[in-house]
């Protein structure tokens, strides 16, 4: 089976979902991402990413705050799954590994 890939935007969303713990739903994720990235995130892009993450099994969703009105709104919370944590960790490890192999001389630029 093909290994599932984690896209750059998906990774950010997944991280945010993890950070927000029990309170991760559309608006909070969007706002958190916007403060972190300092740019506008559209709900559409966010949903698309969440949808993919859910399909890949890295987030799960649960429903909360259903209103009584018919055809009403529904608050959908997202939680990071164990697989999600694993994949985040993998990505981070790989990044760190690569980063550590950048020669010391180049890393010296960071200090100036």
């Amino acid at each position: 089976m093909k290994k599932l890939a984690l896209g750059a935007f998906e990774e950010l969303v997944l991280l945010t979902v993890g950070v927000l713990q029990d309170n991760a739903y559309g608006v909070t994720i969007k706002m958190e991402l916007e403060t972190q990235l300092k740019k506008k995130i559209s709900l559409g892009a966010l949903y698309a990413a969440l949808q993919r993450l859910e399909e890949k099994g890295w987030v799960s969703s649960r429903v909360g705050g259903i209103t009584e009105k018919q055809g009403g709104r529904r608050k959908q919370y997202f939680d990071i799954t164990k697989d999600g944590i694993v994949v985040l960790n993998e990505v981070r490890a790989m990044r760190n590994n690569l980063f550590d192999r950048i020669p010391q001389t180049k890393l010296g630029w960071l200090k100036s």
Binding site: L43, G44, R74, K75, Q76
Partner: protein
């Protein structure tokens, strides 16, 4: 803060979109988040921004769901929609030429359509902004004098009041008059105001004004009060709360500003910047407001809601009998009054003395028709190209059908394709229209702009797009979806298009182009005829000087004398009016005249050098002489007069002038045009009379230095008005400005129409060639030359153009002759015009088709045949 939650709701449009495009479980999630965001934005960014963001987010959700995410959430029809969209885009990309042709044609047609519609709707919107526009009427009169019958918007002072007291259905009546230019100073700033109106206070009840400062009811309440517009207040004071400030009129009369009102929109037939109290000003200038024969005022009435204007108009005749004391014998009671709806005023050109620029409604209809024609041509292109493409896409359709596609599904697929193309073109058209709009509005002399911020505008645009999509897309869609699937995919497709319809449409297009070309040619020729025709006077190097200033008027003979001393000035003379527009009337009269001979004539008073100034030729006798005292009671005639009187030997004959004095005919001048070329040259008598009129000089030296010299002289009289002059040539040209604009616009339309027709032709030729590529290959192998092949392909199109021309000729002949008939002096509609038109058509078609067939004919037969 929380009250907002109850009053402000998220935009319904966005909700509706979401509900129609999102599947259920996604919808509720999105709605929750969106609503929370909305109320968040509401508090931080305000209602408009929040609504906008809501809509934007909804669209992004829909977009991402269907085009970025997996479409498992979409409903089936949506999935098909997405699929169709992709197919359509792919198709556009694959057939770039075809798409470009379509988009180019459609968008140029649409651009013209948008601009013209913008212009015509603006024209038709004149005066509609008044709340009671449908109940406001202008009073005009029909004057029935001995010489002629004419309509005039001037009404007498007592009319308004007598209407109010006589007819209960009149709710309000107001008189006003546009006063002459005035020098006004306030707040240490002085301007010459071109448009000061003097009006009854009731204008504020009849027309819709909006007070900016002060109260409408108090405007003009007292005699020395004036009301001014917002921009006028800004001009003098730099602020708008200027009630109770004073303005100085003509340097002597202080008037108090009682209020400021919002500027009247530019699409009003009169715009008032400064309004002064009617009765007060008229009294100050000794105007007799009770005299029914003093007619310089405009009267506007507001009728009650249930009033019947037709019935009222019929009753207007009793007014003079009842109120006026002027027997018919004294020239009184010869006027009858009529009501004219306010919104018609802008389009009325046959009533004298109207305010504002008038427009010729028929000209607007002509423009609209032409815009529609261009649009139809662009639509036809689409139909043609799309049906031609149908043959190529026959296999695609076949496969779809066999896989189970329903007719409806295919229809919607092809319609979607048309829709995409149309809306793409529409956007492009809007963009280009926006780019050329400044030029266009300068050209038509109206402040036009697109209402991009108005959602009605966008609804109209979308509506237009949908209509065009349906009209141009439905036929190709039906054709393409109607193929029999078996025929469609069998190798030797039995489907061949006879193309009658397509040929018919090409004929139609070229017929329209031919009509436009003919119209443009006739217009150009008639206008250049107007420009070059011998009008009988010389317009060149004549400068017309303003005589508005009192200081100049009082000493005009000294002024003229000093002007003659200026270096470069050849002749100085005055006449009642310029020779382009002689207005005064007289009646032929001489001792022993018979009744039938009392024909109407024009009358022109001039000073001595008039004929030298305009270089009007003398045919017989002599012109007025300074040294001959008797010339004060001499008359000169034009040839038309002599001819009308049937006189063999006019010199020395006695005539009786308008004032009843005897006068001798001393000379006859060559006929010159007294009015525009639309009218025939009528009999004219010229008398020596320096009293009123227009002063003009003929310049022989350098124009700039001479005018500077004249200005020096003008300044030495210490006038309060600035020096103003105009070239006689400009005045002459202005009389035909409307026609000139029509001609230029027609030229632009025609070029575009030809371009569109050629685009269509090119597309069609491409398809003919593509369809016959094998045949052509075989012909080449068998020894046909490139020329043979080009001729073969060209022949068909030649025939189409021929047919088109046969249809177009008579129609254009009829149309343009009726336009030419409006001119008493006009060109003949000769055969050469038809010849030129045919040549132009053939030329363009030849280049278009020729280029395509040439490309086809030089192609190597190997390329053409190797596919199989």
């Amino acid at each position: 803060m929380n009250t907002n939650h109850n009053t402000v709701k998220p935009p319904r449009l966005a909700k509706w979109l979401l509900k129609s495009f999102c599947s259920y479980d996604y919808l509720s999630t999105a709605l929750w988040d969106l609503e929370e965001l909305f109320y968040h934005d509401l508090e931080t960014k305000g209602v408009t921004k929040a609504r906008l963001l809501y809509l934007q987010e909804s669209l992004s959700i829909i977009f991402h769901l269907y085009f970025k995410g997996k479409s498992q959430y979409a409903m089936n029809s949506i999935a098909m929609f997405k699929n169709n969209l992709i197919i359509a885009l792919r198709n556009f990309r694959r057939h770039k030429n075809h798409t470009t042709l379509n988009v180019l044609g459609l968008s140029s047609g649409l651009m013209i359509f948008l601009l013209i519609t913008l212009f015509t709707t603006y024209e038709f919107s004149y005066d509609t902004h008044h709340e009671n526009a449908d109940r406001i009427y202008r009073i005009y009169k029909r004057v029935n004098t001995l010489e002629e019958l004419y309509l005039d918007s001037g009404t007498p002072g007592p009319l308004a009041e007598s209407m109010l007291s006589e007819f209960p259905e009149v709710e309000a009546a107001a008189r006003f008059i546009k006063y002459r230019k005035q020098l006004i100073s306030a707040n240490n700033r002085s301007f010459v105001e071109p448009a000061i109106h003097v009006a009854d206070p009731s204008v504020f009840n009849i027309f819709s004004f909006e007070a900016v400062s002060g109260h409408l009811d108090d405007f003009l309440k007292n005699g020395q009060h004036i009301a001014i517009s917002e921009s006028c207040a800004m001009k003098y004071f730099g602020r708008t709360d200027v009630a109770n400030e004073t303005m100085l009129f003509e340097g002597e009369t202080p008037l108090i500003i009682s209020g400021v009102y919002k500027d009247m929109p530019a699409n009003s037939h009169f715009t008032m910047d400064i309004i002064a109290n009617f009765e007060w000003v008229m009294k100050a200038y000794d105007q007799d407001l009770s005299n029914w024969n003093n007619n310089p005022f405009y009267t506007y009435v507001l009728l009650k809601e249930d009033a019947d204007p037709v019935a009222l108009e019929a009753k207007l005749t009793i007014l003079r009998e009842k109120y006026a004391n002027d027997p018919i014998a004294d020239g009184g009671q010869s006027s009858t009054y009529f009501l004219q709806p306010l919104t018609d005023v802008h389009f009325t050109q046959n009533i004298n003395g109207s305010m504002g620029e008038t427009a010729d409604a028929s000209r607007l209809y002509v423009f609209t028709t032409i815009a529609l024609i261009v649009l139809i041509m662009a639509g036809i292109n689409y139909v043609n190209l799309a049906t031609a493409r149908a043959i190529v896409r026959v296999k695609e359709t076949g496969v779809r059908k066999i896989m189970g596609a329903k007719r409806n599904g295919l229809l919607s697929q092809f319609l979607l394709e048309s829709g995409l193309l149309v809306f793409l073109s529409l956007l492009l058209a809007l963009f280009f229209a926006y780019l050329v709009l400044p030029l266009f509005s300068f050209f038509v002399d109206r402040p036009l702009s697109f209402a991009f911020g108005d959602h009605m505008f966008w609804l109209q645009i979308i509506g237009l797009g949908l209509v065009i999509t349906l009209l141009s897309g439905i036929y190709p869609a039906i054709v393409m979806s109607s193929f029999n699937p078996l025929d469609a995919i069998s190798k030797r497709s039995s489907f061949t298009s006879k193309g009658h319809l397509r040929n018919g449409l090409v004929v139609f297009q070229f017929a329209l182009s031919a009509i436009l070309i003919l119209a443009a040619l006739v217009l150009q020729r008639q206008l250049s005829f107007i420009d070059t025709v011998d009008t009988g006077y010389n317009r060149e190097r004549v400068v017309v000087l303003s005589m508005r200033d009192d200081a100049i008027r009082k000493k005009q003979s000294t002024y003229m004398q000093e002007l003659r001393q200026v270096a470069g000035v050849e002749v100085v003379a005055k006449s009642w009016s310029l020779p382009t527009n002689v207005t005064s009337n007289a009646e032929a009269n001489w001792p022993g005249i018979e009744d039938g001979q009392r024909i109407p004539m024009y009358l022109l008073g001039v000073t001595h050098d008039f004929f030298d100034l305009y270089q009007i030729e003398l045919v017989e006798g002599r012109s007025f002489d300074r040294k001959t005292e008797a010339d004060q009671s001499a008359i000169m005639l034009n040839e038309a007069a002599v001819k009308a009187f049937g006189w063999e030997n006019p010199i020395g004959r006695e005539m009786i002038t308008q004032t009843g004095e005897k006068a001798t005919v001393i000379g006859v001048v060559k006929d010159f045009h007294l009015k525009s070329l639309r009218e025939e040259i009528k009999p004219l008598q010229i008398i020596l009379n320096p009293q009123y009129g227009t002063l003009a000089v003929r310049v022989k030296g350098d124009m700039a230095t001479t005018i500077a010299g004249i200005k020096e002289v003008y300044k030495s009289f210490e006038p309060s008005y600035p020096f103003e002059y105009r070239y006689f040539e400009d005045i002459y040209d202005r009389a035909y400005a409307d026609d000139n604009k029509t001609a230029q616009l027609t030229l632009v339309f025609t070029s575009l129409a030809i371009l569109i027709a050629c685009l269509g032709l090119y597309g069609l030729a491409s398809h003919k060639v593509a369809h016959r590529v094998k045949e052509l290959g075989v012909r080449k192998v068998m020894g046909a030359s490139s020329l043979n092949i080009a001729r073969l392909l060209f022949r068909d199109f030649l025939l189409l153009i021929g047919i088109a021309f046969v249809f177009a000729g008579p129609i254009a002949y009829f149309l343009m002759n009726s336009w030419l008939d409006g001119f008493a002096y006009h060109i003949e509609f000769g055969a050469s015009l038809f010849g030129i038109t045919l040549l132009i058509l053939l030329g363009f078609a030849g280049v278009t088709v020729g280029y395509r067939t040439f490309k086809a004919s030089v192609i190597s037969p190997v390329t053409a045949l190797r596919d199989e």
